[in-house]
Symmetry: C2
Subunit: 200 residues, 2 copies
């Protein structure tokens, strides 16, 4: 029943789910759980920004000043829970998150961050120019308007998160099908996935 | 801007969100994050089973044999992330979970568990008679059919989780309003909530 494969076998299931729920704006939203600085679980909705090119790594854009950045420095592990409301499918994706901000020393990663910046809408980019998140709002007036040249590269507050999955649990509530996918590093450093059908 | 109150001020916001999203079946689903036995975050979709009578405590039904029970014994803290897809509101609810199974020594809690059992549909109850969850599915044939007398009380596998919130973060993506609610124990043992408007 178990079989080994180098390409992530759950990725096609996820792409299918995205396609069959594409009519819903919120189908690209999922919940990302991390461990808070106080040792308690922390959980919030974030937006799927696609897979990193030719891989099964999941991209998320965030603000360097948000609490999750601090949390991920303490514990880099996270679990995505992604429920598709139309097809009744759930993906639980566990892995380690790489936090890529402007101070990263790897030119490849800085390039990925820049790509993610330009791939997001101008409106999304403007959010990174706003006031510090998670801080008390002191004024009653609406927040100041910012403008940004479309050719301007990523601002300091822009941070790319890359989740490298090593365990995926798939549940289909319509068919009652449940599958777990587990990865291990193979000899040639490539990730190798095995899958197992389990009781829902 | 901060004010103290004994009744949870976020509860009405949540009841309003439930009402304005009531047309969607999935509006009663939320994601529950816990800490796994391996120290990593764990996250899954569960169903809201209402507030405990005259309180702000949140009820969830689950199977005693599910992995989250073991996890909650290691670390009883959890965070709910509840996103309402129609009204674009998010509630992050952090608190401690009380695990109530049939072996509980408190008669009041056993009564709550029994109430929760009878409040759930017969179809839901039948799930607790099925095979062990989280275990490999060995047979290819569809799972055996079970029958249950509607007057039968909670079976061994039925477990009531009661989350006692102490921190709630509310975000409205339409109005860009964000509020945090924090509780502390007052002199007379009652929970006292303070709220604060923060930058979204």
């Amino acid at each position: 029943m178990a079989m080994g494969t180098v390409t992530a076998p759950w990725k096609q299931l996820l792409l299918n789910a995205l396609e069959s729920n594409a009519n819903l704006k919120h189908s690209s939203f999922f919940q990302l759980a991390t461990i808070g600085s106080n040792g308690r679980p922390s959980n919030r909705t974030v937006v799927f920004r696609g897979f990193q090119e030719n891989s099964d790594k999941i991209q998320i854009n965030t603000d360097c000043r948000s609490r999750k950045i601090e949390e991920l420095k303490h514990c880099p592990f996270a679990e995505i829970c992604w429920y598709f409301t139309d097809s009744w499918e759930q993906f639980r994706i566990n892995g380690r998150i790489d936090v890529i901000d402007g101070s990263n020393s790897d030119p490849m990663k800085l390039e990925q961050r820049e790509k993610a910046w330009f791939a997001s809408s101008l409106k999304s980019r403007l959010q990174y120019l706003g006031p510090l998140p998670d801080l008390p709002c002191l004024s009653e007036q609406p927040s100041q308007e910012f403008s940004l040249d479309p050719s301007t590269g990523p601002v300091d507050a822009f941070c790319l998160l890359v989740l490298d999955p090593d365990q995926v649990d798939y549940l289909n509530l319509k068919s009652s099908e449940r599958l777990t996918f587990t990865s291990r590093q193979s000899v040639n450093e490539e990730k190798c996935w095995t899958s197992k059908r389990i009781n829902p």
